[in-house]
Structure formats: C-alpha cells, structure tokens
Amino acid sequence: MSAGVMARTLRGFTRALGQTLVSEHSARESGLLQALDPRVKLVGLLALVVSAALARRLKVMVALFGLGMVLAVASRLSLWALAKRVWLVALGFTAMIAAPALFLTPGVALYRLPVGSLAITVQGARSALLLIARVESAVTLSTLLVLTTPWMHLLKALRTLLVPVEVIVLLAMTHRYVVLLTETANQMFESRQSRMVGRLSGHQQRRLMVNTGGVLLSKTLEMGNQVFLAMQARGFRGEVRLLSDFRLRGWDYLAICGFAVAAATAVVAGR
C-alpha cells in the first residue's frame, strides 16, 4: 500500500467517522426508539439480534429485517441513509464471504457456469441468502441502537448490564479520541504532501508510512497520558461515576413486553 493510498484511506475513514458522529443528532430526535429508556432499548434490540443469529428460516429473518425498517421509520431515521451506509456495505462484505458457498455447497445445480465445471447449487444459494439475511437483520437492529441512543447513555446502559468499568472507560475514550487521532494522521499526511517534490519510490513510500505510524503511536501514548492527568486533576481515582437519571416509564414496560414477544416468536418460529 502506498502513502497516497494510505492518505486516501485515512481521509475516507475520517469522513466515515464524521458521519458516525451524526448519530448524536439522530439520537436526540423525537422518535419511537429515542423515547425509550436506553437499558430497555439495549436489552430489547440485543435480544432481537440474538434471535436473528439463532434463526434458521429465511422468513423469520426477513420479518426481523422488516421490523427493523418499521422501527427506523418510527424513529425518524432515513431509510435511504441506512441503505447507503449500512445495508449496501453489509451486503458487499457478506456477499464476498458467502460467494464461495454458492459453488462449494453440494446439492442440486441451479445454474451451471458456461466456462468450467462450476455450478451454483440450490443449497449453496440458500446458505448464502440465509447468511446475508442474518447479517442484514442483525446489523440493522444494532445500527438502530447506536443511531437512537446518545453514546454516553449507551455506555451507562452497558454498565447496568455489568460490563466492567475499564471497558466503559475504554469505549468512551476511543469514541472521543479516535476522531482526533485520525485528524492528526490526516494532517501529518497533508503536511508531508505539501513538502514533497517529485515522486517517491515504493521503498520510500513504505518507509514514510511506517515512520508516520510510529509518530502517530507516540502521539497516541502522549495524548493518553495527558488525558489521564486531566482526569486525575478532577478527582478521577479509577472508578467512573455516572450521573444516572434513567427512569422506567409506562411505555418502557410496554416496549419490554413487545421486544420479549418479538424475540421469543422469532426464536420459536425460526427453529
């Protein structure tokens, strides 16, 4: 990979991260999922994700995907944006993984390629379709959770599920500083680009990339140290304390029942 490719990748990564941060806005919209207690949403949507993972019937997976779409619309999320940023990306990755199964799964031939002896089997197509449907359903439901819950509320909700404090701090810091570090990396590449005259050989480009990576790592460690000092300066002693103001209301109990019924039905019907 050349330094130019690396710089372009980083720019794309920064843009993608920027779009992810837009979720903080959608999380504050007044929609169905946004109105729910984050703990209910976390447990409910995770239950649906698990039921999608356990399901073996295509109809059940399609139903879960449909439920995800309905929830997205009720939560004022753009289906077009979901299609662009989530469904197409998930489809691309899963299709790559599922492609060999089309030909390698033994069974009745559905379509024989004109060249060679390869054939797509009915069983292979079904396996690939199941995998794609499962991934799309699970990714849609997980994305709904992220897009409709402020990041800190999500972390608090994870704490109620007894996720260790260290993991919570790590997630909080990663979310905050990954953007800053990616921007730093971008600026480093741009500053290098602005001082570069002529073309670099492959060896020089690789060396530049490794050096940049090393400097970025040093900066990361330094920044980590500084942030830790800033936390200590305000009394941080290792235990994170959160100002929890979650309160279950009437519709939260309704939602718990709804999620439980949907997940249980999907598990039973999907066997």
Binding site: R28, P150, L180, V227, A233, R234, G235, L242, L243
Partner: protein, 281 residues
C-alpha cells in the same frame, strides 16, 4: 538577579504553596532546577516565561500530578508526594481545593457532552446528585453556555471550549485555581471573555496562578509576576516592575529587540509591543 529585582512587599497571608529548591526532570531533561517559591492565600500570580521555561511543569507539580525529584513542595504545610496523593482522604480534599485548567482543551474535554464534562469533577468527588445538577446548571449559566449543555465539547469553537474547560474546574469552587495559558490561541474577543470570566469568579478571595507568555494581559490577571527561565525563578515582583525591566524580559525571551528605520536611520529598541508610534519630530 532575583535578589536585585524584588518588588513591593506583599501582605502576610497564610501560605498556600511553599516550593523549596524543587527540581523536576522529564527523562533526564531538566524542566525545573532548584526552584523556590511561596504562594500566599488570595494572591493572583502570573508565571511568565518563554516556551520550555518550566511554567506548565510547575503547574502540574502544584496540582499534585507530578512530584519533585529533588527539593520539597508543600500545600498548606503538607508535603505533596506520591504517597500523600495515594491516600483518598487527602487526595480528594486536595482536588476539591486545587483545580487546574490545562492549556489544551482537547486534552481536558473528554466527555461526550458539555453537561457531562462539567459534572465530571463533582461526580468523582462523590457529591449528592441534586447538588451536582444544581451546581452544573448554575456554572453553565454563569459561563453563558446553558444552551451548549447537550453539545459535544469537541464540536465547540476554541473560545467556547476554553470557557467549558474553565467551568469544568470552577464548578468545584476550588480555593486555588491554576491556569495554563488560558488565553493562548484565542481571538481577542474570546480572550477578553475568558479574562472577564476569571475576574467575576475570583471576587478577590481566591488564589489564582496563571502561566502565560502574553504580557499584554498581565495587568488584568495578576498582582504579582514571577518570571521563569530554564526552570528557575529569575524575577518576582509586581507586574509593573516586571514590565519595566526589559533586561529580564529580554533574557527570558518574553520580548525581542525590535529593529526598524526612521527616515533611513536604523533604530532599535526592546518592546513587548510590535505596534508603536514615535512622537512627531
């Protein structure tokens, strides 16, 4: 040089900090070299010095984040050591009394929202929930950032970030406030907002130590100026006396020799100000 340059005697108040021949090194590179300094209650001190003179390091030692490698540093008579800061009762009491605003708000603002940022300190000190809510709202209103409470701190402008960083420390109402370059990299309006904010908070009762190399704000932020050079104190006097001593300021790299021409005649004078006018001849 210090002996030659002493300003007006100050009012005898209780000692907050007492640094006695303090040294500190970053991986064998000396940052402070035998620095001695006394800070009394209610003083407004400016730590002046060029980049690398040891200002930020001294603030971190005063805040109990780093510890002297030689010499001693006391806060209200208690030695500030790593062992002392490991004792919860002392450390939490100390954090309640002494607050540090870092130079770079990017470092200090690590919470997802402005509200969480300001609430972080009180939460760590175990304040009751209702008191935290009340104090955070009051502090945000005071800095004029009530409408920003749900915004991500890293999405704010430089001036707003600085004000939130100050609020995140001032919410604890510390007795001693340490500020590292509070107005650096700010536009003139944001600079004056930050200074007005600090003046309105202080009300003459608090001890404020500000590290800066901006001489133009000296008169507004301090009643005493301590000049650092290569990790040691080279001058300790009133701001007016320090500003009048161009030899010290030039030696500490706080001003530079300004050269220009008048009607073809070369002319040179040391000045902290780039813009100036000469009387008509």
């Amino acid at each position: 040089m210090l002996e030659e340059f002493q300003g007006e005697p100050r009012q005898p108040e209780a000692l907050e900090f007492e640094a006695d021949r303090v040294s500190y090194e970053y991986e064998r590179v000396p940052a402070l070299r035998g620095l001695s300094l006394q800070v009394r209650e209610g003083e407004r001190i400016a730590l002046l010095g060029a980049n690398g003179s040891g200002k930020s390091t001294l603030l971190r030692l005063l805040d109990g984040l780093h510890f002297a490698s030689a010499g001693s540093l006391r806060f209200r008579g208690t030695l500030l050591t790593e062992a002392a800061m490991e004792v919860d009762s002392f450390a939490l009491g100390f954090r309640r009394k002494v607050g540090l605003v870092f130079q770079n708000p990017e470092i200090q603002l690590f919470n997802p929202t402005v509200f969480d940022e300001v609430a972080f300190g009180p939460l760590q000190l175990g304040w009751p929930r209702e008191e935290i809510l009340e104090r955070v709202h009051a502090t945000l209103d005071w800095i004029g950032a009530g409408q920003l409470k749900d915004r991500a701190p890293y999405r704010l402008s430089g001036g707003e970030q600085k004000r939130v960083a100050i609020a995140s420390v001032i919410v604890l109402d510390p007795d001693v406030l340490l500020l590292d370059e509070p107005t650096s990299m700010l536009d003139p309006r944001s600079q004056s907002q930050v200074i007005e904010l600090l003046e309105s908070w202080n009300n003459g009762r608090k001890t404020i130590i500000t590290a800066t190399h901006q001489l133009e704000i000296l008169g507004e932020i301090a009643g005493r100026a301590v000049v650092l050079e290569h990790g040691a104190v080279v001058a300790d006097a009133s701001p007016a006396d320090v500003l009048a001593n161009t030899e010290v300021l030039e030696s500490a790299n706080l001003i530079h020799s300004h050269r220009h021409q008048h009607e073809g005649v070369p002319h040179k004078h040391p000045s902290p100000y780039l813009r100036h006018e000469h009387p008509q001849r």
